[in-house]
Each structure stands twice: as C-alpha cells, then as structure tokens.
Symmetry: C2
Subunit: 201 residues, 2 copies
C-alpha cells in the first residue's frame, strides 16, 4: 500500500542526491521549494548546468576554469609572468582574484595529496606544474593550498620537488583571520600567529 | 585586473544560488564537484529537473504530487475512505507512507499559517479541505502538521473550523522519538511524554 511518489519526482530526488552533501531529505526539500513555482527557476537552473557542461573547460596552461583553450589570466600579458600561485581547485583562483592582492599567474592542482583516498602525486597536476618551469620565466612559487594536514603535505611535497631549480618558494601566511578575536582563536593558530609575527615599527 | 570567472561558470553559480540554503560558496563547491566529471551527472540532473517541471503536478483532490490529474492514493479504493490526514507539504505524504502505519487519505495544505510572513488561512488549502467533507464519507481527520508554534496554530485553526460537523479530530502524538534518550530530551517534550502517557497493562 506504500506509495513512494510520482516517477519524475523520485527521479529528481535521485538526481539531486548526486550533488555532494545532498541526501534524500535535502533533495526533497529542494524539490518542494522548486515545485512551488516550477516554471520560475527550473529552466534557469537546468540550462545553466547544460551551458556549464558545454562551455566551461580547464585552461590548457593553468587548469583553471575557462571558456577558451587558454584562460584570460594566462593570456593577460599585463600580469606578472614571474610568479605562479599554486592552488587546490579552480574556485580558489576566483577567491584570490577577489582579494585584489595578487597579479601573477596560477596553477590549479585539482586536489591535494590524500594517500588514504588513493590520491597520489600522479592524480593531481604536479607534473604539469614542474613542466611549466622549463618553458617560462617563472622565478617565484607561492604554495596556496589550505593550511590543513593534506594541504600542508601537498605544499611540502611540491616544495621538495622544486628543490635545486633556484626558485623562490613561499607559503601563504597563517594567523588570526581579519576581524577575528584572540579569545576565540584555537591554540595552534595563535601559536602560528606569534611565531610568524611581523616587524611593524 | 580581477577575473571573476568564465560567463557560464558565473551563470551556473547564480542559478544554483536560487536553491534554498545554497549561497555563492556552496554553489561554487557544487559546481567544482560537477566539473570533475561534467558529462557524468549534469545531463541526469538537468533532465530530471525538466521532467519534474513537465510531469509532476498537484493532485486535484489531495494536492499531493502526482503525474496524473488525480494521484494513485486518492484513486486507490483499497484505502480507508473515512479518514483524512492533513499535512503541510507533499513530501510529508511520502514520509508517512514510508512508516506503513497509515492507510487512509491525505490532504496537503501547502504550508502552515504564518501571519508574520503573510500566510493566512486563504494562502493554504483550508477551504479545499472543508470542501472535501461535503461530498465524501469522511468521519475522522488527523492533524499531522509539525508540533511547533506554526504547525500547532494551523492545527488549532483547522480543528475550530471543523467544529459542529460531527467529525472525529485527532492530532499526531508528541513524545520522545524512538531510539531517543530521556537524558537528551528537552523539558517540553518530556512534559508532553508524561502528560500523554499510554496505559500499558
């Protein structure tokens, strides 16, 4: 006697459950919201996803998102061609761009080393990063993977691979976030903030 | 010099942000996940949403989800035609069906009374519920809105509207969830669990 729901509803629940962090309950909630006014949002979302799939690819040089074979950042001769910022995923590029503090090139690894999940150096774009130093005038590398266990291990591995090439290698700063408070900062962050303190006057 | 990202990427971020509870960061994370293997999941999700929009409508009788004008539950003559369970939204129907403990009919309100959000009795399907008693042999109404302030107020309003019709009106039980522990149960729930205790032996 149990009625599970109309087939197209069940298919939509299953499809939305393919998204990371979305389970059956969340998918049902999303669908309930969309169904309040289906012709309002569904065509927009559906078309945007298809356009995303058809138009967006990885830049051949930095592996960031691009609609052309080479992305506007790699093509921009006004940017500093001597420094490369290494990040985990393509959205990190837009986050750093938003800060307005960086005007060099990028390299997107497409992940971090995670041996337990079967992600070794060959599964992320480290070979491609090393290849970029042969052709180009790069003198500095900024390792901007996240300051957690896997991001640190990845940065360490890359910096070891870069040894002997005469490159300046740096790591993004760790410390208390802007607007943060000492009271609510964990001991490790606070320790790094003290150790890595900057000369001011 | 800031580069926001390819247009189709930005459009996809904006489109996914239309979903409730999804902001710019979450949308970027979803897209990053989809882009790891775009041809794998995007056509499925996109098509499922379009099918949802085109095939799923509200049942003309109970206002639950259906692919036909009247849903299989309302059409099923094997179900108890004397009892109607009143719920907030269509996904509640499938949740109750899953329990396997109910074999009657449903009525989906499409929301709860929320005066502060401008949702009064005319914005949810109370008039349609009252209309069902004129034609049919219904003798019992189970009010299954959520046991929170708005759900309680809605149940109260409906039970007052039903007065004088000679109907048996009940409210779903409140108490400690199955598998729950007294230690972690709040005082109000515990109070209801004691007040509404059942004779056992």
């Amino acid at each position: 006697m149990k009625y599970q729901g109309p087939p197209s509803f069940l298919a939509a629940v299953e499809a939305l459950s393919l998204l990371p962090g979305v389970g059956e309950k969340t998918a049902q909630r999303l669908i309930f919201s969309l169904m309040k006014n289906p012709h309002d949002k569904i065509p927009t979302i559906s078309q945007a996803l298809v356009n995303l799939m058809q138009n967006v690819r990885h830049c051949e040089i930095c592996f960031g998102y691009s609609q052309d074979p080479v992305c506007p950042i790699c093509l921009d001769t006004g940017r500093d061609q001597t420094v490369v910022c290494v990040v985990e995923d393509p959205t990190n590029v837009f986050a750093i761009e938003k800060s307005g503090q960086y005007h060099g090139l990028y390299h997107v690894l497409g992940g971090v080393l995670a041996p337990l999940d079967g992600v070794g150096p060959d599964q992320i774009r480290i070979k491609e990063l090393l290849g970029r130093f042969d052709q180009r005038s790069i003198t500095e590398v900024i390792l901007a993977t996240s300051p957690n266990v896997e991001g640190d291990a990845t940065a360490m591995y890359i910096s070891q691979s870069l040894e002997g090439r005469g490159l300046q290698v740096s790591r993004i700063a760790q410390g208390i976030p802007t607007g943060g408070s000492l009271e609510y900062t964990d001991q490790y962050t606070l320790g790094r903030a003290i150790t890595d303190r900057r000369q001011w006057l």
